[in-house]
Amino acid sequence: MSVISESLLIFTRQMRLSLRSPAWPVIGLFQPALYLAFLGPLLVRVAGAGVDGLPAGAAWRFFVPGLLIQLGLFGPLFAGLSIIADLRSGVFERMRVTPVSRFALLAGRVMRDTVVLLAQTAVLLAVAYGFGLRAPLPGLLLMFVFVAAIAIGLSALSHGLGLLVRSEESFTPLLNAAAVPLLLLSGILLPMTLAPRWLDVVSRLTPFRYVVDGMRTALYGDYTGSVVMAGAAVAVATAAVCLLLGARLFARRNT
C-alpha cells in the first residue's frame, strides 16, 4: 500500500470522528463567522474613517489574513491534544503495530486539520465578503494556499509535540505560552509599521510576520512581488520543517 492510500485511510477515520463530534462542525464553522460578527462593525467604522497606517477601505484586506492565522493558531496548533488522547486510549499504539508507515499516521491527521482549516477559511472569506471585503479572485485563492501551509506546519508540529509532552496539563499551557507572543509579533492585530525598531526586529524573527504581510499584499492584488514571495517561501519552508520534525517524532520507537 502506498503512503498516500495509507494516509487517506487515517484521514478518513479522523475526519469521520471530527464530523461525528457534535461540537466540532458547529464551533469550527461558526467560530470564523463569530470573529467577523464581533470585529466587522468596528471595522466598518475604521474602513470609512481611515486610521494611522491603514488606507481607508483597505481595512478588511488588512484584517482578514490576521483572522485566518488566528484560526490556525487556535485550531491546528492544538490538534496535538488528539494524539495525547490516542496515546492514552491505546489507539495510537494499536496503529503503530500495523505495517502502516509512520509518516502516514501523521499525514492522515495533518490532512484532517488542513481540510478543517480550509473549510473555516471558506466560511470566513464568504462572511467577510458579506461585510464588505473586496479583493481580486487570485488573491482570495492564494489565501487557501497560505492557509494550507499554515495548517500543515502547525498541525504537524503540534502532533509531534503531543508525543513528546504526553499530557494535556502541560501541553495546553505550553502552546498558549507560544501562541500569544506569535500572534502579537506577527502584526496580526496592529500593523508592525507602528512598532519601535527593537520590536520590529524581534517580529522579523517569527514566521507569521512574513506570512501575514504576504497574505495582505496578495489581497491588495500584488501576487508576484517580493513580499508575497517571501511570505509564501516562509510559509512553505516552515510547513516543511515542521512536517519533517513531526515525522521524525512519529518514527521514534521508544515512546
Binding site: L17, V91, R94, P99
Partner: protein, 325 residues
C-alpha cells in the same frame, strides 16, 4: 536440522533486555530473556505483576527497542526490519486500543485495511469475526456504549482481523465472563487448528494457562525462571500428593510404604500417611497392592495433582492468585 519437520522457531529471543529510565532511576524490566516458540504453538506467559511480560511483548511487537539482545519474529529481526515484523503479526495490548467514539465494525474494517486488505474483503472479515466473538449485535455501536467485556472482545477482534500467522495477546481474557472466556479459548484453539496460527498470550489465570497452552514460560523479576508444558511444570515441582488414611498403626504403614518406587517424601500425621511421588497413578497401584499384602487397614485414598499455583509458589515464593489483586 529440520529433517523430521521440526520447524524453524517462529520467535527466537536471545538475551533480550530492556531497561527503562524513570526520573533518573533505572528499572530493569527484562533482564536477558532467551526462549523459542515453534509455529502453531499456543504459548503462555505467566508471572506476577511487574515481571516484565508486557515489556517483552512490546519488544517482540517492535514497540520498544531492546536495550540489549536480539529477537527474530516470523523470521524477521525486530531491530533490522520492524516494518517486516509488523506485517506478519497481530497484537492485542493489555490495556486495549479503542476510541469510545468509534464504532465496532468501522474500526475493524479500518484495521484490516491498514494491513492492506481490500475493502470488500475487510468488510467480510469484520462481519465474520463479529460473529465468532459474539459482537454481531454491537457492530454499529460506538465503543463507549459497550460493556467492559464487550470492549475487550472488540480489542481481541482488532488484533485478529487480518489473520496474522502469529498473534500476541496481552491478558486477553481480563474482564470476560466465564462464557466469553470459554468462547475465547475455543476461538484461539480453532485459530491454531484451522489456520495454524501461533498464539503467544499472557495471563494471570492459571486455569487458562493450564487449559489452553501447549507450553508455559514463567517469568519473574525480568527473567524466565521455568518453562515447559503445564504437566511437565507441575511434575517438575512437586509430584503428586497421595494421602492414605488408615484404621491401624500409621507408623507401621509408613515403614512398609516407604519402599514405594518414585517416592519423594513420606510423612505421617495422625492416621494419615502423606506421600509425594513422581507419577502418582503408578505409585498408587503399587501402594494399594502393597497395603493389601501387608494387611494394612486402609480406609480411604486420595490423590491430588499439584496445580500451577503450587508451581508458582515453589518457583517465585509467592502465590499468583494472591499477587493478582
Amino acid at each position: 536440522m529440520t529433517t523430521s519437520g521440526a520447524a524453524v522457531p517462529i520467535i527466537q529471543a536471545t538475551g533480550l533486555t530492556h531497561t527503562f529510565t524513570v526520573g533518573g532511576r533505572t528499572v530493569e524490566a527484562v533482564r536477558g530473556v532467551d526462549f523459542e516458540v515453534r509455529p502453531g504453538e499456543i504459548i503462555g506467559f505467566l508471572g506476577p505483576n511487574g515481571a516484565g511480560k508486557t515489556t517483552t511483548l512490546r519488544i517482540l511487537t517492535t514497540l520498544l527497542k531492546p536495550t540489549a539482545g536480539r529477537a527474530t519474529v516470523v523470521g524477521v529481526d525486530v531491530n533490522a526490519d520492524p516494518a517486516g515484523v509488523r506485517r506478519r503479526i497481530g497484537y492485542v495490548a493489555q490495556s486495549g486500543g479503542t476510541d469510545g467514539n468509534c464504532r465496532v465494525a468501522e474500526e475493524l474494517i479500518l484495521q484490516a485495511r491498514l494491513y492492506g486488505i481490500a475493502r470488500h474483503d475487510a468488510v467480510r472479515r469484520a462481519a465474520d469475526l463479529c460473529d465468532r466473538l459474539d459482537l454481531t449485535g454491537l457492530a454499529d455501536r460506538p465503543m463507549k456504549t459497550l460493556s467492559g467485556g464487550q470492549r475487550r472482545r472488540t480489542d481481541i477482534a482488532l488484533g485478529l482481523v487480518h489473520q496474522p500467522s502469529l498473534v500476541f495477546l496481552d491478558e486477553p481474557s481480563v474482564g470476560l465472563d466465564p462464557q466469553s472466556r470459554s468462547d475465547l479459548w475455543a476461538h484461539i484453539r480453532r485459530l491454531r487448528d484451522e489456520l495454524g496460527t501461533t498464539v503467544f498470550l499472557t495471563t494471570h489465570y492459571l486455569d487458562e494457562a493450564d487449559a489452553l497452552c501447549d507450553r508455559i514460560l514463567v517469568m519473574n523479576h525480568g527473567r524466565v525462571i521455568a518453562e515447559g508444558t503445564p504437566d511437565a511444570l507441575k511434575r517438575r515441582i512437586s509430584g503428586d500428593v497421595i494421602s492414605l488414611t488408615l484404621g491401624g498403626d500409621a507408623d507401621r504403614a509408613k515403614a512398609v510404604l516407604a519402599e514405594c518406587p518414585g517416592l519423594d517424601e513420606i510423612a505421617v500425621s495422625g492416621q494419615t500417611v502423606r506421600l509425594t511421588a513422581e507419577g502418582g497413578e503408578r505409585a498408587l497401584v503399587w501402594l494399594l497392592r502393597t497395603a493389601d499384602r501387608a494387611d494394612l487397614d486402609l480406609r480411604s485414598v486420595n490423590i491430588a495433582r499439584p496445580t500451577l499455583d503450587d508451581v508458582f509458589l515453589a518457583l517465585t515464593g509467592s502465590s499468583l492468585s494472591e499477587n493478582d489483586s
